[in-house]
């Protein structure tokens, strides 16, 4: 019987060690922390024309401090906009209702995140609230398109002015030529 006591002790210690490791992994390596479902939170929605490649789980920050995460992304087929659901930490519950949410890029080519700039209202956002002022993502292709369009436009302008100058020069030169040839044939 003594044998089974050390046996049970050994098994118990092993199982305890294993669960401690699991606990460590789930709490100390993730941002979840020690709470069961993550820190207490409330949900806010914001609608955007274009969210770029914003992903679920992307951070939501104010003044560079992370205050929440993107929880869900859906499409509103009535307004033809992207509806983004934000999960904000309860600790940051004094966000004015007229704040605006914009989509930024981390670094130069990093992932997208949402930045909230505080407004000036006296009322604060609550659970199931909505941010009305939004700015869509910066889409690189559009910028390149714009640059190209600008570039070709300015080139076309240059060409036009060059052509106009050329045409003017031609018309100036031409009477001379004519005169010259006229003179020649005379």
């Amino acid at each position: 019987m003594r044998k089974s006591r050390t046996l049970n002790l050994g098994t118990g210690s092993f199982v305890l060690l294993g669960f401690a490791a699991l606990f460590f992994l789930t709490t100390q390596t993730t941002s979840r922390g020690l709470s069961w479902f993550g820190p207490p939170h409330y949900e806010i929605t914001a609608k955007f024309d274009n969210i770029g490649d914003l992903k679920v789980g992307a951070p939501v920050s104010m003044s560079g401090v992370e205050v929440g995460r993107v929880d869900k992304i859906e499409f509103d087929s009535n307004e033809y906009k992207a509806v983004v659901q934000l999960r904000l930490n309860e600790r940051y519950n004094k966000i004015p209702t007229d704040s605006d949410a914009s989509i930024y890029t981390q670094g130069l080519l990093g992932g997208k995140f949402i930045g909230i700039t505080a407004g000036g209202a006296d009322t604060y956002l609550k659970d199931k609230g909505q941010i009305d002022f939004t700015q869509s993502a910066f889409v690189l292709e559009n910028l390149i398109g714009q640059v190209l369009a600008n570039f070709t436009k300015s080139k076309a302008d240059d060409q036009d002015s060059a052509a106009a100058a050329g045409a003017k020069a031609n018309t100036d030169a031409k009477p001379n030529a004519d005169t010259k040839s006229k003179e020649k044939t005379k």
Binding site: L7, T11, F14, V15, L22, T29, T30, S31
Partner: protein, 253 residues
């Protein structure tokens, strides 16, 4: 030639069916076996606690290598601070479950197979049947459940020690900032990663334990039969582990 191919194909199918049938038998007998938890407890000790040393050692070394290699690789992109993230994700999602399962198959799996094979060879299983004791319930199921329970715990311990090994090399030796190591990890690693690792180790546990007890129980009752059973355990377990690894990784994507 085709006839032989077909025969080995049907043999393999038959074997697969036999294993699945065995699994059902084990599952059916699990609830009553759980009532006699002391048997299972003993098997958890045999499978788990005894494997602890090799798992911890391996975890440490794998973590340290991960730290070294990860640092070198990330240095090329100027992202050394991401070492914590890289090591944790690599360990928790892949190396932890897979390496632990392979080591488990080698150490605990072969022990299970040879124990059962020996019991079969020395008529102990027949003797139990004669004494109206169901050997599946009394001998096989506790060993199976012992393995299934031990595996996720072992994988978790492996990952944790691995992370510390990576930290040892990355922070203490290579000079990565300790704060960045942990903070970047915390923000990048999510619960779904950990869950994926746990699901994998449970699946591997079921697979390895099943293969080990099946090979042992149905081993030819001779010395070489037992030997064959142990080698087959390791080989089959390894292939199944790697195959399941791909399946589960793809499923979680």
């Amino acid at each position: 030639m085709f006839k032989e191919l077909w025969e080995s194909f049907t043999d393999a199918l038959e074997g697969l069916g036999s294993v699945v049938h065995f699994l059902f038998r084990l599952l059916v007998h699990s609830p009553p076996a759980l009532l006699r938890f002391s048997l299972i407890s003993q098997q958890i000790f045999n499978s788990g606690a005894f494997s602890l040393v090799i798992i911890m050692l391996s975890g440490l070394f794998v973590g340290m290598v991960l730290g070294l290699q990860g640092f070198q690789l990330l240095q090329r992109f100027g992202s050394e601070e991401a070492l914590g993230t890289a090591a944790t994700i690599g360990l928790v999602k892949e190396l932890g479950p897979v390496v632990t399962a392979l080591l488990f198959a080698g150490r605990a799996g072969t022990a299970l197979a040879s124990e059962l094979g020996l019991m079969r060879a020395t008529d102990q299983i027949s003797a139990m049947e004669m004494m109206a004791v169901d050997p599946i319930q009394r001998v096989v199921v506790p060993r199976f459940l012992g393995g299934v329970i031990s595996m996720p715990l072992l994988a978790a311990i492996f990952s944790v020690i691995g992370i510390y090994g990576a930290q040892l090399v990355g922070v203490q030796i290579m000079g990565v900032d300790s704060g960045s190591f942990w903070s970047q990890m915390r923000s990048a690693v999510g619960l779904s990663d950990i869950t994926e690792g746990i699901v994998k180790s449970i699946a591997f546990g079921i697979a390895c334990s099943l293969i080990a007890v099946y090979q042992g129980y149905y081993a030819t009752p001779t010395a070489e039969g037992v030997g064959r059973a142990t080698t087959r355990t390791v080989v089959t377990s390894a292939v199944v582990i790697l195959f399941l690894d791909y399946l589960i990784t793809a499923a979680f994507l």
